[in-house]
Amino acid sequence: MADRLKGRNAVVTGAGSGIGKAVSLSLAREGANVVCCDLGGGIDGKGASTTPADQTVSECKALGVQAVAAYGSVADFKAAEAMIKTCVEKFGRIDILVNVAGIDRAKMLWNLSEEDWDVVISVHLKGTFNTIRHAAPFMREQKYGRIVNTISEAWVGTVGHCNYGAAKGGIASLTYATAWEMGKYGVTCNAICPRAATRMTMGPDVLAGYKKRVESGLWTKERYDEVTHVAGPDYLAAIPTYLASEAAGHVNGCIFGSAGAFFSFWAPARESAIYNRDWDNFGPWTVDDVEKCMPNLLKGYVNPAPPEKEDKKK
């Protein structure tokens, strides 16, 4: 036990399992009261159960703090409002918001249904907006707040679930913008980009998929070992917990790679190659102009997915 968050009140979404649960317990261990929000659904967002949230509440209480459950969907604007208000009404104020709730519906773009797009974007991206939107007025008023969002390495592009990647990219931007807007009111907003063994990353179906990749020669055994040798989320929970503490007041608008073995600072995209024309003497770009400066602009570039050679196709 420790007391670095003593007297602080937190809302954690996706608190019923995985990273959300590990963070809830870590916050409680440092003395924070926690609203444990979880719909209790499957990885694909289907179904609901009060058991996961209730279980985390019991475990938090066992650490000597107050804890209450909220079972709504973060994708629902009003349910998100209720989560924030529960914290304020039960505990007096809201100091900490940790957005972890997420689902996955993996399909290639050309097979992705509108519903699979909508549901994944709603839970991750709108869910994160919803809770921040409702917490912001309270935090701005009290001139203190700590917001920690969850993104994924999929934010730099991913194969097989562009809905998930796009939502995570959106959350990264939301993190930067919230940091800019709220920083002067004593509120920080950061994000973790976690790597941890959870039901989403290491469930039986996922592992079976990895094994198939090795069997088909797509992955080496070494790659399999690297991907599956991942610690549980309790190993990284101290990182968001630190970001939720008063001591992290100087850290705002940052994204941290977070795993058991390491953590890292993600720099945003930057202009890595620039071609400037003569400012005082130019007309509209022509296609030839553009083509001519491409070799310089593309220095060091590797096509992430070149066209398949005809002879490789069946």
Partner: protein, 313 residues
């Protein structure tokens, strides 16, 4: 005019005005047939009018290509499907897709309504998905396609419209991921990140502010000069999109380009630039995290974008 896109067929969203219009015309100038998509609404997404799309259709036709209008709402899956099918049914196939349609409803986070969020994310992000999703099967089948999305520097943060920024970041990720998924089928997916004078960006107050700062010596005069060079009609750089849509750009995939009248820049992806190793076998502790979170280690060169305001005297 050129013929770099002769025989190619394009769908351009937001083509009734601004950047979309400039690109639609640039593609037509290079010989492409164009489906001109525009709901004809206001910057905030309200209203609708067929005139903007119809006018651009006329303008494209002057260049000797075929052009038709679509007035649907890009945020509606079925409308996007109809626009893509209109291209295939009228012109034979779809080679080029430019997603430019966008709206803006600026508010600070604590004042933003659910509707303002939904609408902006719906038009930009879902709109871009809707068109990519419906074009992808055709492009995969024919083993050729050029997709050009439109992002914004707001993608990396800023203030007053995080709905817009988040949608643009989502589009950026969709560009990177789409390039990986579709590249093997001979399809490229890139994005432009434009600076231009359009009805969305044309704000005399911004220039006045910069002029004042330059006069006071708070800002380098080159900032104003650059601004004046860049805040011009988007036709100045529309051929950058035309190049990305051409056969010659087959090797350019998954890239984001800043595009202005005077500059093209290529963006890197976000990257992990500093790293701290867990010195133990156990979980991270708060103290270990705190020790690593310093300018000497993880926070090298980091500057807080918005430190707390000092207490009022």
């Amino acid at each position: 005019m050129g013929d770099k896109l002769k025989g190619r067929n394009a769908v351009v969203t937001g083509a009734g005005r601004g950047i979309g219009k400039a690109i639609a015309v640039a593609l037509a100038e290079e010989g492409a047939n164009v489906v001109v998509c525009d709901i004809g609404g206001a910057v905030d997404g309200s209203g609708g009018d067929k005139t903007p799309a119809d006018q651009v259709v006329d303008e494209c036709k002057k260049h000797g290509v075929k052009a038709i209008a679509q007035y649907g709402d890009v945020s509606k899956f079925a409308d996007a499907e109809a626009a893509v099918k209109a291209c295939v049914e009228n012109f034979g196939r779809i080679d080029i897709l430019c997603n430019i349609a966008g709206i803006d409803k600026p508010k600070m986070i604590w004042n933003m309504t659910e509707q303002e969020w939904d609408q902006v994310v719906g038009v930009h992000l879902k709109g871009t998905f809707n068109f990519m999703r419906n074009a992808a099967p055709f492009m995969r089948e024919q083993k050729f396609g050029r997709i050009i999305n439109c992002t914004s520097e707001a993608w990396m943060g800023g203030t007053t419209h995080l709905n817009y920024g988040a949608a643009k970041a989502g589009i950026t990720t969709l560009t990177w991921g789409g390039a990986q998924e579709l590249g093997p089928a001979g399809i490229t997916v890139n994005a432009i990140c434009p600076r231009a004078k359009t009805r969305m960006t044309d704000d005399p107050k911004v220039r006045e502010m910069v002029v004042k700062r330059v006069e006071k010596g708070l800002m380098d005069p080159s900032v104003l000069k650059r601004m004046d060079r860049e805040m011009v009609d988007p036709s100045a750089f529309a051929k950058i999109a035309a190049f990305l849509a051409s056969d010659d750009a087959a090797l350019v995939n998954g890239q984001v380009f800043l595009t202005t009248a005077i500059t093209i820049a290529r963006y890197s992806k976000p990257a992990e630039i500093t790293k701290a190793e867990n010195p133990t076998e156990g979980p991270w502790t708060m103290d270990m995290v705190k020790a690593a979170m310093t300018p000497a280690q993880l926070l090298k060169d980091y500057v807080n974008p918005a430190p707390p305001a000092p207490p009022k005297a």
